[in-house]
């Protein structure tokens, strides 16, 4: 072997080394770019898995086992398609959704969208605090203690923080959803079976199955989350140049949200369904039932997940609602303002939390009715908001080259129409539960 070939080899290795370094550096740069943007998409999608959502997922796992897992893939697509449009609008126009509705459709439509939003969101907030109460009852804490503490905690968090700080807390809450993954592993499910059902759809044409299916899809997308996500990107001042990262954020959010749903369904399917406890109606009940089947920790983690989800949604919903209303009607909004600069914003925020938590504390609170009202409200409000979004995102004077492409429009309109139809089915069955056969209490 001569020296020349050896030195050539060494040089080659060195080159490959610097090449690798370069690639590593560019990777690190890309991750840093993404991290600067990440937040609104992931947070919003995960808030989807709130108290109401988790109850539905639990029921579907307990009643139909793995059979409904396939619906998660179309749900991920729907979540991404709708979320992406809002992210794009926020990044391109630099304006919130309610700002745009106001500027393009005038005062009166905005006003009614905002008022409807207020009451629907209030009902949702009640549902979240009810979730907190249910989760803490598993740990033997009375709702008269847990709910007030939760309300104060949520209120202070936002009042004392800047957008950045609050976002960090919220992102941490997203990580806590992993408790469902651990719960599912404790439940020792048949992973192969679960995977098969995720990819291959199984259809049963009985009323109960179809209602459960629509329920699953119907709870995935709530109208308020569009406003929240868009406002998040606007408040973070993400520029058009960072749009690819914003899109990645939304995609990551949609997938992680659905992954958590997967684990919740798998957990309850492996335990409650297999052991025949199929009439479970809510998440708290499921958590208690899990203890004898999958061990104490599975139950505790399941309940903890519910608590986390409820608290998480209870902090975001009032915030988002107050934000949207103030933006649309022209009052100062945003947690980067002081109380004095944005009094209406902070008052709305406070009222939503106080009334939301207060209703849960009423001795004979008609919680079930409020839960139904929140679902019906979401259902009625959703088509309106979706149509506004689709009209706005196709406006060339607003979006420039970033209007929907024809393909994207087809996907988006199909998604929107499907979502609207499904939500109407959910609303219908919520009002007339007898149709579903196996009905909630």
């Amino acid at each position: 072997m001569d020296w020349k070939s050896i030195s050539a080899k060494i040089e080659g290795m060195q080159n490959r080394g610097t090449d690798l370094q370069k690639r590593l550096r560019s990777l690190r740069r890309r991750v840093a770019l993404l991290l600067a943007v990440v937040g609104p998409g992931i947070i919003t999608s995960n808030v989807d898995n709130d108290a109401g959502g988790i109850s539905v997922y639990t029921q579907s796992g307990a009643q139909y086992g793995y059979a409904l897992l396939w619906s998660l893939i179309p749900m991920t697509i729907a979540l991404y398609v709708t979320g992406e449009m809002c992210a794009r609008m926020g990044v391109v126009t630099g304006k919130g959704l309610s700002d745009l509705i106001r500027e393009e459709f005038g005062f009166r439509p905005t006003f009614f969208v905002m008022i409807a939003g207020f009451f629907v969101d209030l009902a949702n907030v009640v549902a979240e605090f009810a979730g907190v109460a249910a989760a803490m009852q598993i740990f033997h804490v009375s709702k008269y203690i847990s709910v007030p503490i939760a309300a104060v905690l949520v209120w202070v968090l936002v009042l004392r923080g800047t957008y950045r700080q609050v976002e960090v807390v919220f992102l941490a809450a997203c990580v806590l959803y992993l408790s469902y993954v651990v719960s599912a592993i404790f439940a020792k499910p048949d992973w192969l079976e679960a995977a098969r059902h995720t990819v291959i759809p199984t259809m049963h044409f009985n009323a109960g199955y179809l209602v459960m299916l629509t329920g699953l899809i119907g709870t995935t997308i709530a109208p308020w989350q569009f406003f929240y996500m868009q406002a998040g990107f606007v408040e973070k001042k993400i520029s058009v140049r960072q749009y690819p990262q914003a899109r990645a954020d939304v995609l990551l959010g949609s997938i992680s949200c659905m992954a958590i749903v997967f684990f919740i369904i798998v957990c309850t399917a492996a335990t409650l369904y297999t052991s025949g406890q199929r009439s479970i109606t809510d998440a708290a009940e499921a958590a208690s039932a899990l203890v004898p089947l999958a061990g104490k920790w599975a139950g505790v983690l399941f309940a903890f997940g519910l608590l986390n989800a409820s608290l998480f949604a209870a902090s975001i919903l009032p915030l988002s609602t107050a934000h949207v209303i103030c933006e649309g009607l022209g009052f100062e909004a945003g947690i980067d303002h002081k109380f004095k600069e944005a009094p209406i914003f902070y008052w709305l925020y406070t009222i939503l939390i106080a009334v939301g938590a207060g209703i849960v504390l009423l001795p004979n609170a008609p919680l079930w009715k409020i839960l139904i009202f929140s679902q019906v409200g979401n259902g009625v409000w959703l088509p309106v908001v979706l149509i506004f979004i689709l009209l706005l995102v196709n406006r060339r004077d607003l979006m420039g080259e970033y209007v929907n492409t024809v393909t994207f429009n087809i996907v988006a309109w199909v998604t929107a129409v499907a979502m609207i139809l499904l939500t109407f089915v959910v609303v219908y069955t919520a009002i007339f539960p007898s149709v579903a056969g196996a009905s909630p209490p």
Binding site: T93, G94, K95, R102, E103, G106, F107, R108, F111, V234, K237, S239, V240, R241, L329, G330, E332
Partner: protein, 413 residues
Amino acid sequence: MQLYATELMGAETYDDQGNFVGRVREFFIEPADQPNRIARLLLSRGRFQPLVARHDQVATVAPGTIRLNCNERALELYQPNEGWLAVRKDLLDQQIIDTQGRKVVRVNDVDLAEMRSNGNVELRLTQVDVGLPGAVRRLLQGVVSPSVVRKLQSRLPQRTIRWEFVNLIEPDPLRRVKLRITHEKLEDLHPADLAEIMESLSAAERQGIIASLDEEMAGKVLAELDERLTRQIVEKLDPEKAADILEEMAPDAAADLLADLPKETSDELLEEMPGQEAEDVRELLSFDSSTAGGMMNTEFVFLGETATRDEVLGWMRTQDLNLDQLDSVVLLDSAAQFSGIVTIARLLMAAPEESMSELKLEPLLSVSADADETEVFELFDKYNLRTLTVVDETQRPIGTIAVDDVVSRLVAK
């Protein structure tokens, strides 16, 4: 009577014969002509082509009805014109800058006043309504009778902005020129206030404002803005314009701005800047931003320590100094090394023949350019400083750190 634009929208319009001409759909102002006069009314009538009535063709105006002083045939056909400001499209529901209240607000309604001249009525835009009365009117119009609305709104707190304090936000530069939108009113604001206003606008709107400010003001605003926004704006500016703005900025502020930009962009901008300014900024850029050198400003006043008070004042009068920021001068000894500072107040009170070395502040404090910023903070805290001199290895002063630099560093932490 007080008139409101939204109340007149949809008003039935009749010509001098009493024939129905159409309904009012839009009011146009021609800023090139008169900044506040409603110059034209857009009248639409079903499937016919819309007509336009000029201000001198209007005889009377009342809520719901407008009468013209000419025949329908005298009206022009409507042709869109970019130079017309449309009250409904460009003003209602849009955001504007209230230059007196120094914030961004949304327009709920537009208040109009009647001006009678021979045979016709002119409408003048007096103020924009950004408060509850306008909101209530918009909500209840057509649902309850106008008199009830008027009674209701009179009880609500007013929030209006006079038209001369309204600054429109128009991101499109061509349209801005056509509508005669200048940002003179914005230039009267404090740069920090304008920076705060800009943070609540969209990217295109921010860009539009910076592009139309003069370089000096633009530089001051950029220095006050959040650094991420500054970066976004500068990256999108024409490099020549960006360099002009940087040139107007204090070298330390310019260096701070350039330090945040990607290397290629900042090099390109430095190339565009004139030699001396670019050199100053380059020098500052070579210091680590967390050291005294990274905090200092290289524009400072230095004098020989043997000079008398009168000589100094005489010389300072001939210099172009930033008087609002100047609070002390730096003294040099015969070897051009740092020998102390004299505060402006001491200079003011001194006798005419007193020499600088008698006036200088004890103890003699300075810091080297590579000293860590915490050392700087500690010195300011311990000695209650306003200014601290930065020296190089040979004890020659190369810059000063002012207390406001320290405050903004500490706030950023």
